[in-house]
């Protein structure tokens, strides 16, 4: 309940900043020594929020469906891709973390590449994935793979830290019970990794949204909000508010995903409601 209030408050602050900048900002942007350091505040670059909201209610094309329905449908499509990417990415991340915790060699050998994997630019990677996977997968699955590629990273790194977080005394206790690797994982390592897992999952959720939107754009997949942003931005000069409706949709999508991920936390972190747990 309190959480929801904070989210609303955050939205209000963002809206106030947007409109506030439009009031005080130079319509031509602030240019210093030939470099524009602040963006243009004119209605073409930054339409009023109410213009954007009002645009949501009008038809997309003359006589077509209202924009908000089109955007909402595109967001749902992208949400599906994001969810698939998130689940695949989280599972891969978990498996990698467990493997790295189990075998020092794997950690030494793999961790640098896990980190390296995130430095490959997504726009360079997307056509590659589309090229390899496009023949065996539908386009949306290709985009899911790209989302998963971004989502697995925080989970793998966060979970590895979590799995390694139990104190030596906890590990010794399990050893004294003659518990093997698997039972130590289930009874000790996994529960103590949960406080590390959930922040990682939240990051993964955000990364999956970015991956899905950018993946849609760079593979040219139709139906999602990423594609919509590209299409609408072509009309930016004649209808500047339109592209912002799509961006608003993408932002809301991110919020929804973040909310869904934090719902996962509730049943698994019961003791948090009783005591504070230090994380990270």
């Amino acid at each position: 309940m309190k959480r929801a209030l904070y989210v609303l408050l955050g939205l209000a602050v963002a809206a106030a900043l947007w409109e506030g900048y439009k009031v005080v900002g130079n319509p031509e942007g602030t240019v210093l020594f030939g470099v524009r350091i602040l963006p243009r505040a004119d209605d073409l670059s930054m339409p009023h929020l109410w213009t954007v909201l009002e645009r949501l209610g009008r038809p997309e094309l003359t006589g077509g469906r209202p924009v908000w329905i089109v955007v909402a449908q595109a967001c749902l499509f992208t949400l599906g891709i994001t969810a698939a990417g998130f689940v695949i990415g989280a599972l891969v991340g978990l498996l990698l973390a467990v493997a790295m915790e189990r075998f020092r060699v794997v950690e030494r050998g793999l961790l640098p590449y896990v980190i390296l994997s995130q430095t490959v630019p997504l726009v360079a990677l997307a056509p590659l994935v589309a090229g390899w996977g496009g023949t065996i997968m539908p386009p949306w699955a290709v985009v899911s793979v790209i989302a998963a590629y971004l989502a697995f990273f925080p989970v793998a790194v966060g979970m590895l830290r979590g799995l390694q977080s139990p104190s030596a005394s906890g590990v010794e206790l399990m050893r004294s019970y003659a518990a093997g690797w698997w039972r130590t994982l289930v009874k000790l390592r996994f529960p103590s990794a949960l406080p590390y897992l959930f922040p990682a999952l939240r990051l993964a959720g955000a990364a999956a949204v970015v991956g899905a939107v950018v993946g849609e754009i760079s593979t040219g997949t139709r139906g999602g909000v990423g594609r919509l942003i590209i299409e609408y931005s072509r009309e930016a000069t004649s209808d500047p508010a339109k592209v912002y409706t799509a961006m608003l949709g993408a932002a809301l999508l991110g919020l929804v995903v973040a909310g869904l991920v934090s719902l996962l936390e509730l049943p698994l972190m019961r003791h948090r409601r009783h005591v504070e747990v230090a994380t990270l």
Partner: protein
Amino acid sequence: MTAVVVSSVTKIFNQGRTDEVAALSDVDLEVRDGEFVSLIGPSGCGKSTLLRLIADLIEPSTGTVTVAGQGAAKARKEQAYGIAFQQAGLFEWRTVLRNVELPLELRGLSKRERKARAEQMLALVGLEDFAGHYPAQLSGGMQQRVAIARALAVQPPLLLMDEPFGALDEMTRERLQSELLGICAKTNTSTVFVTHSISEAVFLSDRVVVMSARPGRITASIEIDLPSRDDAGRQSPAYFDKITEVRQALRGTPASAPSPRSSESAAAGTDAR
């Protein structure tokens, strides 16, 4: 059969490195079945290390450890002992009750059996009202009592306890001492008990083993034979005599033994009675 045999064990941590520590040097210790042995000595003399060697949590550099007639590793795999560490080491995400249930869970007891046994153990340490709490909601001494309950829950033939009553007030401590003695007597449990309190060691033990530091070794082994282990026992002359004897052994100036070395062999001689 002897419960524990430690023979000429040496433990050197980080051997061959610059931070090498000789924690134990040439230690011999025997614990008979049903015997209660206390380890006492200055901080850092290797008491916890010796206990962990018996528990097969670390391996000796040289020498052998035998528990219940088999190698320490095999005994551990058969869960031949229960252990309570110096730090409580509870799992913060489990309630007090579920913490005590943990070893029972790993032994595959049924849910109902586990709960009954764990509740019984919590009552024993006076925490039955806190079964549903989480460890972070308890005081240090209460956490320590949960750890004791957890060690006792499996009713092991051998109990290893590292300063279990260190964080407790005098009254709780005396009550738990009597409970522990009762359990050990009833189930014929052998116990190795680390403590810093001379009076506690004398009151509880059949034998007090005195250690000295750098390198850790056994300097004396004092048989205790109190007339009774209750309030009368705490006031008997034998009790005070033994306290004095242990204190002198700790100071390293036992009247009867000229050097720690010879007192150790003398003690080893009296062991095999």
